[in-house]
């Protein structure tokens, strides 16, 4: 075993999977280090879930290799199962059981004590819902419960498939706190999402996926910086004329629509101080490039989740 393999929780090499003519996963390679929070991003149908399922050992790749904690997850590797935790896209629960009972049942599948189950309820902030039946939980609570179920046996690697999909903004933020708390416990997290903003905030590194291929893979900030996109300063329409704005120090390009005036700049400090001197800051917004711009730059089309 080499050093790189030793520190890597997941090593995927040139994995392919086709369903008929559809190349769901088309030559994916990636490495996730131990303790890393890694996100696979992309629109629906990009192949994120299939990639995840191949790494988890739920599907056999047509070609390529997967090493999960140094072992092959396919065919079903019982020695590996206690070391990985998987939260499924659909919430997989037993009928009519309370939150606590769900956790206790899953814990027993791994031979883990019921006490762990209660700790997990605390971790995901559901201690007060312990005796509520799964069907009566809200979408966000159910999502947190399913993460708790994936963690109940204290796995080293955690797989989360679209954990924040279909949640309201408040529930999403609550879940982010849970995910950060899990990472602080030293777990390796591999997760998929179609929310680029969320991945930018949470992930150490992201891979951007589209049509079964990885288009880019790096830290979100590095990807955005690599785009070398200008900062956009947006003002209320009418605060300045287009000509005046174009004459400001640092202004590279000026556009105007019915509502706003947008100045693109690579020198925002000079531009903003010039605007402040003229007291022309009405409705000021400053936008730097995001992962959505990265996606646009990579695919040539607007990001649509």
């Amino acid at each position: 075993m080499t050093d790189t393999e030793h520190s890597a929780a997941i090593v995927v090499e040139d994995v392919r999977k086709a369903y008929g003519n559809l190349k769901a996963v088309d030559g994916v390679s990636l490495t996730v280090a131990e303790g890393e929070f890694f996100g696979i991003l992309g629109p629906n149908g990009a192949g994120k879930t299939t990639t995840l399922e191949i790494i988890e050992g739920l599907r056999e790749p047509d070609s390529g290799s997967v090493r999960l904690l140094g072992q092959s997850p396919w065919p079903r590797n019982v020695a590996l199962l206690p070391r990985i935790g998987v939260q499924l896209q659909a919430s997989a629960f037993f009928e009519k059981l309370t939150a606590r009972e769900q956790l206790e049942t899953f814990a027993s599948l791994y031979g883990v004590s019921a006490r762990r189950a209660h700790e997990m309820l605390d971790l995901v902030g559901l201690a007060d819902k312990a005796d509520t039946r799964e069907g009566k939980l809200s979408g966000g609570q159910r999502q947190r419960l399913s993460i708790a179920c994936a963690l109940v046996h204290d796995p080293d690697v955690l797989f989360l498939d679209e954990p924040t999909a279909a949640l309201d903004p408040q529930a999403r933020r609550n879940l982010w706190d849970v995910l950060r708390a899990i990472q602080e416990r030293g777990k390796t997290i591999l997760y998929t999402t179609h929310y680029l903003d969320e991945a930018e905030i949470l992930c150490d590194r992201v891979a951007i996926m589209d049509n079964g291929r990885l288009l880019a893979m790096d830290a979100p900030a590095t990807l955005v910086r690599g785009l070398d996109a200008p900062t956009r300063v947006i003002l209320e329409r009418g605060s300045l004329s287009v000509v005046d704005a174009g004459a400001l120090p640092g202004a590279d390009d000026v556009t105007e629509d019915e509502l706003s005036l947008t100045i693109a700049t690579r020198n925002p400090a000079d531009l903003l101080s010039a605007l402040a001197e003229r007291r022309a800051l009405a409705g000021l917004q400053v936008r730097t490039a995001t992962l959505e711009d990265v996606f646009l730059g990579l695919t040539g089309r607007e990001y649509r989740a």
Binding site: E56, L58, R76, V78, L81, P82, I84, V86, L88, Q89, A90, S91, A92, F93, F94, E95, K96, L97, E101, E104, T105, F106, S108, L109, Y110, G111, A114, C149, H153
Partner: protein, 348 residues
């Protein structure tokens, strides 16, 4: 707690916390038991009514025998009119030595019974009139235990049916719903074998079936129904258990093929409902046409029914175990093997 115990516990809680399942498991078959039990409670005691005119030793003997109910009319014409209208199957008039019988050809069964009874009684009265002792005497008695009332075969029939339905639906719906909700996938991601999942489900099904049996037999034994078990009732236990396993295997097969709960419910009904009618659950199969009796001999419910009835109420000895146990065991093995072959952890 072991995975086996906790899975069984989870399934059992899922079962008893679902009101609809409880209803169809316990109340619904019980409704049939109560309805049929009350309906057939007095079966056999219902007598044929005939019109009678006049009086004499023959009519007196008929009345005394208590076999027929008599409705008196003033004239032969009135009585015949009643028969012609189809209200009564026959009329009997006695005037001195003449006994007149007029019957409705349209009601052959009942009028035939009446004609047989009347000519038999006329023969007895004639013989008595000679003053000679009768040369031939008849010794007649029914072969069944005198306690074999309808409730004695209704209860085992409804019990087998209720248990079979619960086993098929329980196995099929658990399998389909767990596959659809990805619970099976989730379990597969844990270090737990398929045999653990399967055996915990079997244990829950058997446990529920035992509760059903106790309730159905308990209700049947209430004084109002009057079920009485024979001394060999415990020999029904192997038939009962093999029957549950056979229907569990059928449920696994249904669950392996169906993708949704709705499809599984429909398929399970298609399997179980005709079987109930062809296996003597709702009416004694001995009264069915011969072809139907032949068909019923290949159905597991028929053998479960027969086997349980044999020991619960007919008091047969252990050699009657062979046929039902062999047939049901064959079903368990063959259907179980097919179900295991087509089983899928998840939808493609």
């Amino acid at each position: 707690m072991t995975a086996f115990k906790s899975l069984a516990r989870a399934m059992f809680k899922g079962f008893y916390r679902d009101k609809a399942t409880l209803f169809f498991t316990f109340v619904f078959p019980l409704m049939f038991l109560i309805v049929f039990g009350l309906l057939f409670r007095d079966a056999g005691s219902e007598k044929t009514t005939i019109a009678v005119v006049g009086d004499g030793p023959v009519l007196g003997a008929i009345e005394e025998s208590g076999i027929l109910d008599l409705e008196r009319y003033g004239t032969v014409e009135d009585a015949v009119a009643k028969v012609r209208l189809g209200d009564l199957p026959a009329m009997v008039a006695e005037d001195d030595d003449r006994v007149t019988v007029r019957y409705a050809q349209s009601d052959q069964t009942q009028s035939g019974v009446v004609r047989g009874i009347v000519s038999g009684i006329v023969g007895q009265v004639n013989q008595a009139a000679t003053g000679q002792p009768p040369r031939f005497t008849i010794d007649e008695r029914n072969v069944e235990d005198s306690s074999l009332k309808p409730i004695q075969y209704i209860t085992p029939g409804i019990m087998s049916w209720g248990v079979a339905v619960t086993a098929v639906f329980g196995a099929a719906l658990t399998l389909v719903s767990w596959r659809k909700k990805q619970v099976l996938r989730r379990i597969r991601l844990a270090p737990v074998g398929a045999s653990t999942v399967l055996s915990s489900r079997v244990v829950v099904t058997i446990g529920v079936a035992i509760v059903q049996a106790v309730i159905f037999l308990g209700v049947g034994s209430l004084p109002v129904f009057g079920l009485r078990l024979t001394g060999t009732w415990w020999l029904a236990i192997p038939v009962f258990l093999l029957g549950i396993l056979a229907f569990f295997a059928i449920g696994m097969l249904v669950g392996a093929f169906c993708k949704t709960e709705e499809a599984a419910t429909g398929a399970a009904n298609i399997v179980v409902l005709p079987m109930a009618f062809l296996s003597g659950t709702f009416f004694p199969i001995d009264q069915a046409p011969p072809w139907m009796q032949t068909v019923s001999k290949v159905l597991p419910l028929r053998h479960m029914n027969d086997g349980i009835t044999d020991f619960l109420v007919r008091g047969r000895s252990a050699d009657a175990l062979v046929v039902p146990c062999l047939v049901l065991a064959a079903f368990v093995l063959v259907v179980g093997a097919i179900a295991a072959k087509v089983f899928q952890w998840e939808d493609d």
